[in-house]
Assembly symmetry: C2
Homo-oligomer: 185 residues x 2
């Protein structure tokens, strides 16, 4: 066990074939920064028992409650926006009053990534279904970008598109988290 500050490592990389390897890389970077990285896939949902999805949920929530902060990979996932599980966890940890940090590996705005967006008669952007598309220059829904900005650590945005498992944005978040949590490398 350790008494280094604990950081929950949220992101859709848990769905990649090499999910565990990415977790190890993130945890090694955390250790070098004087932090302990908590990775959801390290939970043993079989030991928890019950329906597997509910067991995973309970263990992830317990891990977030145990963490001192969270770092969120908010890269687009199966659509123009971030992974729903990661976004839920961002809201949860912010609601729990813990420091949150986030990055995205996509360079464009949400508006630029939304297929078929065009201006309506009032000048608002709408997609092909007539649904409003936000035009604030944000990377995602305003609740996500603004949560991070208002909490003092604006979303780290890639300058050029990079892969879901690229860690440059993560490392930038890690520096902010280490500083906020007073970690000693």
């Amino acid at each position: 066990m350790t008494d280094r500050p604990r950081v929950y490592l949220a992101g859709p990389e848990v769905f990649l074939p090499h999910a565990r390897e990415i977790g190890r890389r993130k945890q090694a970077l955390c250790a070098a920064a004087g932090l302990e990285g908590l990775y959801p896939l390290d939970n043993d949902s079989r030991a928890e028992g019950g329906a597997p999805d509910r067991a995973i949920y309970r263990l992830n929530v317990a891990m977030m409650r145990r963490a001192d902060a969270g770092i969120f990979n908010l890269s687009p996932f199966r659509g123009p926006g971030a992974d729903a599980g990661t976004v839920f966890e961002l809201g949860l940890m912010h609601g729990l009053g813990k420091p949150v940090f986030g990055y995205t590996n996509a360079a464009a705005t949400l508006l630029a990534r939304t297929p078929g967006a065009s201006r309506d008669a009032a000048g608002d952007w709408r997609d092909a279904d007539g649904l409003l598309v936000e035009d604030f220059g944000n990377a995602d829904n305003l609740m996500i970008d603004s949560c991070l900005a208002e909490a003092g650590a604006p979303l780290v945005r890639a300058e050029a598109d990079c892969a879901l498992d690229d860690l440059a944005g993560f490392e930038a978040c890690l520096r902010m988290a280490a500083s906020r949590l007073g970690a000693a490398p």
Copy 2:
């Protein structure tokens, strides 16, 4: 003013052309159930001042903190999953310890709605990019379905696809919320 229990009304209908009308309909249903519906578009973000996205965020968060519970429209939005803003708010209100209720107007599972999903050699479902697709029978990411189920009010799922602004699922959530909050119609 009123002393009826207050329910935050979250969902992507704020992006529809008739967003305000849907808000009025939801608020009328709330009133009939003995509740006060708080609708994000009723906030005056211009009076709040500053960058408009940040103003909207701050007012929405203040509204959620003022609410006694939340009802979330988790219907798919621009992709296989729910609207990111709504999912963030679900996490936030759950983190704040408030009762949460949710519905979706899509009948299929997340797996059935994910394009190009097929089984890999290990028997797991993967999309065309090799990303794992959850196979728990849920309507969305397990964090969403399980949050609601573990909190005592499982996600209300449409039996057949209906429009984003259909309110049958909302009314089912409203009945649960009124019961939980001890509302008097």
